[in-house]
Assembly symmetry: C2
Homo-oligomer: 275 residues x 2
């Protein structure tokens, strides 16, 4: 069919060349996966191939998708193999129906620690988003999506957060975790202290009544917005180290999703900076 | 055990008294369900029993949950039966593992049409939220949760929106769809026209560049915030009938989740009214 990259047909679900794509759902539950991550769907594949933030190890496509994706496949780096299989073989490899028929395997490389990230003297516009103990893939993905939408300069995650390169986090992020700069590691308190030392004001988002209403505060040039676990919220020591900030809400109701809280803070800051 | 309401043990998964709880997931995909809806989990059960917005037909609890829920069960209306079963029987009835062991069946009663809702001369504080063509249960539930958090006076949904009393929508709403006043029916354009006729300003939230940035507008006393389908957005005729409003965002990225957009608008309006 005249594809510029090597295309290999796979007919055996046990073919070792597609071993990275086996039992994808189980792999979501384990960390590591040999430093690999899985991308699914055309839009996120396009982000992977055009943003060039991560190395691509291989693609795995349903045979029927090869021709429609021809334009996008011209962006596959030289030497990266494209495996194809009939839909049923692909489903057997993945362990569940792969309706979209589009998978790719990326390589994480070295994800920096928050301290390394801050030490890099890169020009950064937009606030940082700090995540502590966000263990839900949907929330992590949504935080990346919202951070990209409101021009955040990067995301720092502590060691208790889930991996933003989990398949589902990538999907929910609309691909933002494939290009938004981020760092991960260490405790939440260490992360906050490193950000404070780098000259940032840290808004610790909390529903506590004693926190300052977000709209009452000036937006500093170097701002970091800190979000904690949805149920318990941020621990006392982290809140005490930072500036407690709340989003004014109607009384008598539980509060909002953590990624939504982050979006509201990011949108507010973005709007203030534009105004 | 001294419970004030009738408690009935169920040992046969085919027992007709728990027929409302069979194959719950399949029922999620059908409308109707005889005017019933299913609530799961302790928190939403508490909302159902304390807010008293909807009639309760029955409760269905794993045997192990009966004693720990004793306090809450005192709120079960007189004559409402509580069925209990061993966990494995409950799982067989529901069709999947019911880890929480807490289910209840409510009756929808008459959900008003948007026109009826607006005609009721009730005092209402807070903006209205209007939903057009929101067919995803998570998004509908999140819209209710956010509307409750930011003191919305009610939600109007057109006929193309999914039912806010679907099990998953209720769960994602944190129970808000069990108490926040809402109405559903008719086309999106009819709904918008009815709201305009009732004297509201309608902000049609859209990422289009020609829309006014949200922060540039005064917040009217009678405001309705209108959200459309996540992919295509609101259709032209609806946007033309209303005031197109956008949330300023960083260029070059897809945009945000529809419920998140609603939360940002609701939070902005709530903050302005407090300030």
């Amino acid at each position: 069919m005249g594809f510029p990259m090597p295309v290999f047909s796979v007919s055996d679900p046990a073919d070792p060349r597609v071993a990275a794509y086996t039992s994808i759902r189980e792999k979501d539950l384990t960390s590591g996966h040999g430093g690999r991550f899985i991308v699914e769907g055309k839009v996120t594949l396009e982000t992977l191939l055009t943003r060039l933030r991560f190395a691509v190890e291989s693609l795995f496509l349903a045979e029927s998708r090869l021709e429609p994706l021809k334009g996008l496949l011209s962006k596959v780096p030289a030497g990266v193999p494209v495996y194809t299989a009939p839909q049923d073989v692909m489903d057997q490899v993945a362990g569940f129906p792969m309706h979209r028929g589009v998978l790719a395997c990326g390589l994480k490389g070295n994800i920096p620690q928050p301290g390394e990230f801050l030490a890099k003297d890169e020009p950064r516009s937009g606030p940082l988003l700090l995540l502590s103990d966000i263990s839900n893939h949907d929330n992590t993905g949504a935080c990346f999506r919202n951070a990209a939408a409101f021009g955040a300069g990067g995301i720092l995650l502590d060691e208790r957060c889930c991996d933003p390169l989990y398949r589902k986090a990538i999907r929910v992020s609309s691909g933002a975790s494939l290009f938004l700069p981020y760092a991960q590691g260490g405790t939440g308190l260490d992360m906050v202290n490193a950000v404070l030392s780098a000259g940032y004001t840290v808004w610790a988002m909390t529903p506590r009544a004693e926190a300052a209403p977000m709209q009452s505060l000036p937006v500093p040039d170097k701002l970091a917005i800190l979000l904690g676990a949805e149920g318990p919220g941020l621990p006392d020591d982290i809140i005490a180290a930072a500036t407690p900030v709340r989003i004014p809400m109607s009384g008598g109701f539980d509060s909002i999703n953590v990624a939504t809280a982050g979006a509201i803070a990011l949108a507010h800051v973005f709007g203030e900076k534009q105004g």
